[in-house]
Amino acid sequence: MRLILLFAVFVVLGLALESAGARVISFRALIPNLIIILAVDLGLRHHGVLPAMLAFAMGYATDALAGSHPGINAFMMTMVFVVSYEISTRLMTANAFVGATVVFFGVIATALGTVAIANGFNALSDTGPLLPGLTLQAFISALVAPVIFSMLATGKRLTGLRARAARE
């Protein structure tokens, strides 16, 4: 329950910041994808059924504020969770660098996946002009990720949750 509440607060603040930020900063690539960072943290540090469902719920909440096909972000966030989970079960550590790397590739893969699902795989050939902005957004998200991980860790400590992955 504490995990759900903690992530609910971060999701509401993150989505509100992204939505309001996009109104102020016209160059969208400068706004990091905060929800992916949360999904990566769940996958790397929380191995259970509840975190998987939480990742799905975060994506479904994102669908309420983004995109025109409900379910796409839910699919993508669950995928990000699964990939992060699989990576953390194969590595000895799940530190901030690993998390930031997963976030970087997660942002790019999620955007391309969203375009492919919403418009068909042929639309991927039109994504060339999107890639520079997307790479910049992925880089900024990866830079911000350790700060968000740290804030989440503080939040977890304050609420009595385990802040590190079970293997560490």
């Binding site: 509401v12 603040l13 989505l15 509100a16 910041l17 992204e18 939505s19 309001a20 930020g21 996009a22 109104r23 102020v24 016209s26 690539a29 706004i31 994808n33 929800i35 191995h47 259970g48 059924v49 975190p51 998987a52 469902m53 990742a55 799905f56 994506g59 479904y60 909440a61 994102t62 669908d63 309420a64 504020l65 983004a66 995109g67 025109s68 096909h69 409900p70 379910g71 796409i72 972000n73 839910a74 699919f75 669950t78 995928m79 969770f81 699964v82 989970y85 955007a111 969203t114 375009v115 699902i117 919403a118 418009n119 639309a123 039109d126 994504t127 060339g128 002009p129 999107l130 957004q137």
Partner: protein, 282 residues
Amino acid sequence: MRGSFLWRNRVLLISGALLILSLHLISTGVHPGDLAARPQSAFLEVISPVTGAFTHLSDGASSIVSDYMDLVHVREENAHLRNELARVKSDQARLAELEAENQHLGELLELKDALGTNAVAANVIGSDATGLSRTLVLGSGTSDGLRPGMAVLANQGVVGKIIAVSPHASRVLMIDDHNSALDGFDQRSRARGIVAGLVDDGVILKYADRSQDIRAGDTIVTSGLDGIFPRGLLVGTVLSVHREGPGLFLGVRIAPAVDFRELEQVLILTQPPPHLEDQAKD
């Protein structure tokens, strides 16, 4: 139990089930009134005040930064004068903002009167959270009479249509989104087509026959055939027409009449446009 295959792979199995559920939602779609639409509507309702507050704060921060930039040039003046100047500038900015808002609302009111239909004005409080789609969040919802499928306009032209609503917030799919489609035609040549957005930004007129006479600079307006937008609303101007290469249709790029980044208030038509036969009778 704990050593069984199902227990050891429970995370992956649940994730797989959730992925299948997501694909089911994508393929079937979520319609207003569906059970699956309720959590989204509830979340939109919860998050819209927070988004509105952040938008208000960020607008205030922009105003403070701009005020500071102005004050850099009068740094040598005494503290009293600077404070006075800041206060006057702040008042001026606020008044200018109110004046601009009044002007926007006045123009929307004129548009509403010109359309002769029921409409409500709404504030834009947010944009698409991921930036991969072209959607807006409005600070009005079902309590203001808004429903999915309603047409959204600005005083310059067509903005889009409502795709989701909660009691006090709603989302608009703009015409430059790659999943948007509205029926339009060239005002000069009467050539018809579907106005749609592109993945890599931009708006095109799809399915315009190659034999049609469409030229750069032509005005594209709504046809009214989609049952959402009244006939004759400004969509944009033709930027370029490509006739080269194979294919049945022209490549027509359009510059939308509305600058979507500058939208602050919009007008939503709460009454469907009159049927074309009724328009003809009138």
